[in-house]
Amino acid sequence: MVSYFGNIYRALSTIAIGMGQTWKAMFRPAVTLQYPRERWELPVNARGILFMNADDCIGCNKCVRICPVDCIYLDAVKAAPDEDLGKASMGNPIRQHVIRFDIDMFKCCYCSDCTTVCPTECLYMTDEYENGVYSRDNGIYHFSKYSPEEAVALRLREKEEDERKAREKEAKLAAKQKAAEGKGKSAVGA
């Protein structure tokens, strides 16, 4: 009997202690934020959606190589020999047309490795974190400054250039071979 009432006393007293704590908490300012209306401040280095400043990219491919999830797609075309693409804002000479720079933000793991290796600091993480979209296609961000048509044209130009070079090389090689053969023949003849 004693233990029965003892139990009741203990239960009530322990509830009273807990309730006392919660009662005190009622007079403290709230710690919650009404999210869509109120935002918290993000620190300077916050990692959000990636952004690439297309004017500064030199197409060095470092970000593609370091990305652990392979979410960056980069295609670059060599500039023509007589073309001057200027310099990036950090002074690095640009020698390539970056015809494709796409980031699949749904694959991105926000590790920020790509921003640390970028030599021109043109790739960085913004403080935007709300990237919910209705279609999976919209999670792929295009950063290249070339339109598809321009890009195709540049790519074809490079292809032609390459083919021309290859032809020249072949012709050179063939000529060399011919010369060598001629020499060999003459040697045999002698």
Binding site: Y73, D75, I99, R100, D102, D104, R136, D137, I140, H142, S144, S147, P148, E149, A151, V152, R155, L156
Partner: protein
């Protein structure tokens, strides 16, 4: 006890079953014969001088596409505070080794994991099922010569982006940048541009025709 002393002790007791001792390795290891695993492990645990009470880690290992499989036991004694690594090499085609589940219960799930990912059979294990992959998965993923299965219950397994597919791309011409993955298709696209038609219209024409 230093690794040398442990090796000496095992050498005296088991003789030929001890194959190799790597004293210079980062973690000194003793390579033993696969058929003696259970005896040696029981001895290591129960001997009062050694008393390896805990198995830190049991890992499967594939030494290469043409090489052997292996099992690595990282042992540790909480009382004596010494460590040793046991390694076992198993032939690739017939990877069988006796289970040490009866010695250390830790080995239970670790052996199941090694079976799941490497296909090493642990004889005498009470419940040797796949643990991480589903039961009807084909192949052993962590082997170096593993090729992922094409379909699992009608679902395509190898990961592929839908936009890497040219057909999908053709329906969404605004994703034109992706075209460069498909070198052979480039002239096609250029042609359609010249004709003043987007790829989208073209595909629609096709479906209508």
């Amino acid at each position: 006890m230093t690794p040398e002393q442990i090796h000496q002790k095992l050498q005296d007791k088991f003789g030929d079953a001890i194959l190799e001792f790597g004293a210079e390795a980062l973690d000194p290891f003793i390579k033993i014969e696969a058929s003696h695993v259970l005896e040696i492990c029981t001895f290591l645990k129960n001997d009062s001088g050694l008393s390896f009470t805990s198995l830190m880690c049991l890992s499967g290992m594939d030494y290469g596409e043409d090489a052997n499989l292996g099992v690595i036991y990282n042992l540790h004694s909480m009382e004596k505070k010494h460590k040793i690594t046991l390694t076992v090499e198993l032939p690739r085609t017939e990877a069988r080794v006796h289970s040490v589940e009866s010695v250390w219960r830790t080995a239970d799930w670790h052996e199941r994991e090694a079976f799941d990912l490497f296909g090493i059979h642990f004889e005498g294990h009470p419940d040797l099922r796949r643990i991480l992959c589903v039961e009807d998965w084909e192949g052993y993923p962590l082997r170096k010569d593993y090729v992922v299965q094409e379909f699992y219950h009608g679902m395509r397994v190898p990961y592929k982006e839908d936009w890497e597919d040219y057909e999908t791309l053709a329906k969404n011409p605004e994703r034109g940048h992706f075209v460069f993955q498909f070198e052979s298709k480039v002239p096609d696209l250029v042609e359609s541009m010249k004709n003043g038609k987007s790829a989208k219209n073209k595909s629609e024409d096709k479906s209508n025709g």
